[in-house]
């Protein structure tokens, strides 16, 4: 293929705000969740909708946020109907494995997909989860400019997740991806997933003026 040739790919997205709760209630398979830098508290809103009608065990492998930070957020905004287990690979360099606490395991950061697979297996063995969440793989590969070899490796990773790690109980694997961290997730990667969702945060700037800005000539 000529590398200078520019071709068009069209992505089609359907807004499902009205039936998202129903969709997430029975979520199964390998799911890609794209988002534009959602805060953890906004991700919690999303997690709360997943299998909301029964109690589940969730393994959360964090490559972007430390356990300390997540614990702090979860104290203010708890996750309902879910028991959470963390693998913190952010603080993994600093904490020796013997300091593991009840619901958090520390691990060294993965260098490639092979290592992340080992971390997932390690987590499944220890926690026996219903749902696995990886947040996120953007550190490992540039998904907007995949080489043929990387694409093959990524498909093989998803294939192994689907056929070796998922089973009747542990049947939901969610891969979070922050689109603000990398330019795009190329659609060539999409066929490997059972479902692709995009969570789009809409912000509004509040112009909150200080008293001095509001009343510049008054004596405060």
């Amino acid at each position: 293929m000529n590398t200078t040739e520019i071709e068009k790919e069209i992505d089609y997205w359907l807004l499902i705000n009205n039936n998202i709760d129903e969709k997430l209630k029975n979520l199964e398979g390998v799911i890609l969740v794209l988002h534009n830098s959602l805060e953890l508290s906004q991700c919690i809103d999303f997690f709360n909708k997943i299998k909301s009608n029964h109690f589940t065990r969730v393994l959360y492998i964090s490559l972007t946020r430390s356990y300390n930070y997540m614990r702090h957020v979860l104290e203010k905004k708890p996750i309902n109907q879910k028991q959470l287990f963390f693998i913190d690979v952010v603080s993994g360099f600093a904490f020796p494995p013997e300091e593991n606490i009840d619901n958090c395991l520390y691990h060294r950061p993965p260098r490639d997909l092979k290592t992340i697979k080992e971390i997932i297996s390690f987590g499944i063995e220890r926690t026996n989860p219903d749902i696995i969440i990886i947040d996120s793989l953007s550190q490992l590969i540039n998904y907007s400019k995949l080489t043929g070899e990387e694409l093959k490796e990524f498909y093989s990773f998803l294939h192994d997740i689907k056929h070796q790690m998922l089973n009747i109980i542990n049947n939901t694997f969610i891969l979070m991806f922050d689109t603000n961290m990398q330019s795009a997730f190329h659609p060539l990667v999409y066929p490997g997933f059972d479902l692709i969702l995009k969570l789009e945060r809409k912000n509004q700037i509040n112009h909150q003026l200080s008293c001095r800005e509001r009343y510049p000539f008054s004596i405060l």
Binding site: M1, T3, E5, I6, E7, K8, E9, I10, D11, Y12, W13, L14, L15, I16, N17, N18, I20, K23, L38, Q42, D45, F46, S144, K145, L146, T147, G148, E149, L151, A184, H186, P187, L188, Y190, L195, I196, L197, K198, L199, E200, R201, K202, N203, Q204, I205, N206, H207, Q208, L209, S210, E213
Partner: protein, 208 residues
């Protein structure tokens, strides 16, 4: 001091695998958001609608001239659909004679005029599918005022009711969010479906 507040989290589902099924059952008022698609891409989209069904399409154009449309259709044919055009681009500059499949009109200045043009054009073409390209011209939806939002919602509500009354298959309103900035709050209450088309122009560079 400026503070940013989250006003909405939208949930989108990627539908490439089920696009034919979704577009075959398209019905009512549809908002089609895109990142500056060309007319040829719009033909690609229309070709996926109601495949193999004979349909009349009314295309109200505020951005493409009829001559450009004709030329593009020669290169990218529109299958099983007959196109009727309301050209609001050329009509602004020149006095042109209406044709069998095209009428020239001055561009509407606001949504109320757009609605009137829509009604007259429907009477002329009696279409199954109506495409308005685009509503981006009327307000900047990224920073709309209360009045602009009220006008938009009234417009959407009226044409949605009309669509149901005259049993058109679909009225599709295009909105270019690259040109006008993304819509701050999507009008989910006043539409039957919201679809987003994202064009990705580069393919990955293969090493092997």
């Amino acid at each position: 001091m400026e503070e940013s507040e989250v006003i909405q989290v939208n949930y989108w589902k990627e539908i490439r695998k089920e696009i034919s099924k979704t577009l075959d059952s398209l019905h009512g008022l549809v908002l089609l958001i895109h990142n500056s698609i060309e007319f040829s891409d719009l033909i690609g989209f229309l070709n996926k609608l109601y495949i193999n069904q004979e349909k009349k399409v009314l295309y109200i154009s505020l951005i493409n001239s009829y001559s450009h449309i004709k030329q593009t259709i020669q290169e990218h044919p529109l299958y099983s659909k007959k196109l009727f055009v309301v050209d609001c681009v050329s009509g602004f500059l020149l006095e042109l004679q209406d044709e069998i499949d095209c009428i020239y009109r001055k561009p509407p200045q606001h949504l109320e005029e757009m609605k009137k043009l829509l009604i007259k054009s429907i009477e002329w073409a009696n279409p199954n599918i109506i495409v308005v390209d685009s509503i981006s011209q009327f307000i900047n939806f990224s920073t709309p005022t209360e009045i602009e939002l009220h006008n938009l919602y009234t417009f959407l509500k009226t044409i949605r009711e009309d669509a149901a009354r005259y049993s058109h298959d679909a009225i599709i309103l295009l909105y270019d969010d690259r040109m006008m900035g993304p819509m701050k709050k999507l009008p989910t209450m006043f539409t039957d479906m919201i679809i987003k088309l994202e064009i990705i122009k580069e393919k990955p560079e293969w090493k092997d």
